[in-house]
Symmetry: C2
Subunit: 506 residues, 2 copies
């Protein structure tokens, strides 16, 4: 049997990492820049980020958070205050040491710009903002009446990555970082769980990604946290992606940074803080979760355009009428809403061949494609194609019926993607009761299942097993998945109700 | 006569710069951070920025622009390509020279973090992105079919300011920077003017600031531009603030960066580019333009909250009913729209004295304050106060009438601020025909009028006059103001129809 032709080479099964790069390229989402590890997010990719931002921002505001903005640069002295935190980021910090440039004459007569004006104290570009926001919180908090502080920031951050990969791991990335301070430990833990829930629901309802939500092991925690909650996504090569985290920081940062207040009992005490974030990494996760061998597949709720209308104009004399009809349909669609937002429609009236245009939109992952040609004008029909159907599948439907059903079509794509992803996740997550079963699973080359195993090992036992198979505990799941009858730990044999999810990861 | 008590000390007439700092502080818009020259934008200030962003972003998209995101770091070699540009920013660049930190033991036994991992080529943190976006444009442009490129970026930038001032001049600030590339010179100039018009209208219609729109002199141009258009705002000490600029860059950057394309004639040619931006400086301009001796005054279209409802609860037994009525009114108001957006309402039900709360909202500049007390419940009235009225002025109006009229009240505040600002600008802009008149105006200490003068001088003559009086040509106005009968230039005596606006500035 001959191999079916695909728009992306190689295919997922041939070379998953290379397929991913090609999907990003073919969809025109982003590209590498000449600045090592830093990407250019192109309009089609940035549009997805804007939708993610808009929806999450609304959720944060609905749960009482306010946006603010804090300095990009962090004095080294700030970073040093929380030792574990400083150590965690020290090896990947961009350091600013000078504040001007000077033109220096070279031996060959040319001039060269060199750093000048050395700073007495260097700064790092924020890898995350616990320290700089904490120092503001220390200024803002006098009494329990000033709490809780519920702040979010949309910003760029830098972590000097040695092996960058578009969206998934870049030296600079965009994210939101929430930072909150509370009067009591319980309130701070409640906040940490609240946001964990917001992330889980957002990934499911908007990105159509059914995560495994749980708690990180001590080894995998955020540097300086007492508890890290995570949402873990399984992508199509069965690797895990940590898609968002919510940290309970205890009093670690408030003690390091003097975030104190006079409590209800009149005593000075330290606040309890949290931090939480998701980043442009979500876009990489999205791509790896849903796309296929013809390119990107976007869930409608985060698709820059949900519908593209392509005029088919074989003859000059009907050309204008067809294009007009396309724009008229677009206008009608834009007046309709789906899931509370106006439908996003683009008319591709460029003077290019229909096949070229069609495949461009397939590769860009537009959920619905609509073609209108001269004959459709007469019959009052449109030709409808869904990105999640086979590429050659099309349906001719009455225009009026299409307008009535358009929301259902979008929902079908959105929910279809989620269903498929749930099925994939569940098929590839296996319960194991013994170390043998787990080791057999991970000894195979390439894609291995996720293993849910009873776990009561030490940090050292966790590290040893991780290293041996290049795997890690992604989380101890919360909810149904994390609760089981008492079983012997796969390493120590100690009886435990706790379950760990082991997997390979990005 | 005793001095009336004001919420802000000093008053505008006593010490305008210090009054400004105190208004920013009292309104809780922003504060200085411990990072030199970098501010923390607090929620009340960031809310204004979000509204500015949302409205401008819509205008940019309506005019065909798309958002994207480019690297924060710029290699020195990029900057060096356009000599004038590099020189213009060299003295205020934050330079990244290392990519990690190392813990080094000190003599006293403690450890200290020091920069490590020196980069072979240093980077600067973008002071503006012409060079890094230009290098992307060079990759994206092969044929005239790829043009125009109409890109905008929302981002942070750094310029190492030696005399920072909150919002007006900070080392790090937030802005949008538009960058476009075109096939022809005319198209690029048209784009430059289009955005200039967008800025002028935005300042007038949203910020209630009537700018003088015009072209910068050669001396005052953006480094590397062939033409810089500007919108100049007059604030209450009669100084000018450059509130936004739109640059026609000719082929300067496209030649330095090889942004070439094959034209319709089959020949390789250089694109014509533009760039344009406004920043968080707009917020400083807004504050200086409208605020008074009781604090901030916000135009409703960019007010984080347009209405604050304050329950007046003298007695415990009616307390809950009053607070419920306030929340019910807020809910009704939020269901209404003004100028196409849902009305933004806050209920201040904190357990604090009414006077304390009132003055807090006065200082924060909320356009409308509504009080509801137990007696108002019975009479179905509300007590309405406008920020632009005297602080003790109040009106008791039927609740139903208030609901019907609320949009008109907001419009009255919005347009009232604009009218007042137009009047102020026009009263303090004087036409001068001779150098004597101009010098007499600027020889006075403190606030001087803006002067509109016939101008045909050289760069040297412009610089000499600027230096002598610490003034500058803010612009050669476009439109009616810039057109006059031929008159002798105030310095050279040469007949000219051109008019220059001279003023002191921030």
């Amino acid at each position: 049997m001959s191999k079916p032709k695909t728009a992306i080479t190689p295919t997922r099964s041939e070379d998953f990492p290379e397929w991913y790069q090609q999907v990003v390229k073919a969809s025109d989402m982003a590209e590498n820049s000449e600045v090592r590890g830093c990407m250019v997010i192109k309009p089609w990719g940035y549009g997805v980020w804007e939708l993610i931002q808009r929806q999450l921002d609304r959720k944060f505001k609905e749960t009482g958070h306010q946006n603010a903005y804090f300095p990009l640069l962090i004095p080294l002295s700030y970073l040093e205050k929380e030792a574990e935190h400083a150590e965690g980021f020290a090896t990947e910090c961009a350091v600013v040491t000078h504040h001007r440039l000077e033109a220096v004459k070279q031996e060959d007569g040319t001039t060269k710009m060199v750093p000048s004006g050395e700073l007495t104290e260097p700064f790092v570009i924020r890898p995350t903002s616990e320290t700089v926001i904490g120092s503001a919180f220390a200024r803002w908090t006098q009494s329990y009446r000033d709490l809780p502080l519920l702040i979010n920031q949309w910003a760029n951050v830098m972590r000097w990555e040695m092996r960058p990969r578009l969206f998934l791991r870049t030296a600079e990335f965009l994210w939101q970082e929430g930072h909150t301070a509370h009067e009591t430990k319980d309130e701070a833990i409640e906040e940490t769980r609240l946001i964990h829930g917001v992330y889980e629901a957002f990934l499911r309802d908007y990105l159509a990604i059914p995560v495994i939500a749980g708690e990180k092991s001590e080894i995998e925690r955020f540097p300086g946290a007492d508890m890290t909650l995570t949402v873990e996504a399984m992508v199509q090569d069965k690797k895990a992606i940590q898609a968002g985290t919510s940290h309970f920081l205890g009093q670690n940062f408030s003690k390091a940074q003097d975030i104190t207040f006079v409590g209800r009992d009149g005593n000075q005490q330290h606040a309890w803080t949290t931090s939480w974030g998701v980043s442009t990494r979500l876009i990489g996760t999205l791509i790896m979760a849903h796309s296929d061998d013809d390119g990107l597949v976007l869930p409608p709720r985060v698709a820059t355009n949900q519908i593209v209308i392509v005029p088919v104009t074989p003859k000059e004399d009907t050309r204008d009428a067809v294009i007009d009809a396309c724009h008229a349909l677009a206008k009608t669609l834009r007046g309709k809403t789906w899931e509370g937002e106006p439908i996003r429609v683009h008319v591709d009236d460029r003077d290019l061949g229909g096949g070229v245009k069609k495949w461009e939109w397939v590769k860009k992952g537009v959920p619905l494609r609509v073609e209108i040609g001269p004959r459709d004008l007469e019959s009052r029909k449109v030709c409808l194609q869904k990105r999640t159907d086979a590429a050659n599948q099309k349906a001719f439907v009455e225009k009026e019926e299409f307008l009535q059903e358009v929301g259902n079509h979008l929902s079908e794509v959105q929910l279809g993607l989620l269903d498929r992803a749930i099925k994939f996740r569940d098929e590839n997550l296996q319960e194991v009761d013994t170390l043998d079963q787990l080791e057999k699973n991970f000894s195979e080359k390439g894609a291995a299942n996720w293993c849910l195993a009873p776990w009561a090992g030490t940090n050292e036992e966790e590290e040893a097993l991780s290293k041996k198979h290049r795997i890690s505990i992604r989380c101890f799941p919360v909810g149904e998945l994390g609760e089981g009858p008492e079983k012997p730990c796969i390493v120590t044999g100690k009886p435990t109700t706790r379950r760990a999810v082991w997997a390979r990861s990005y």
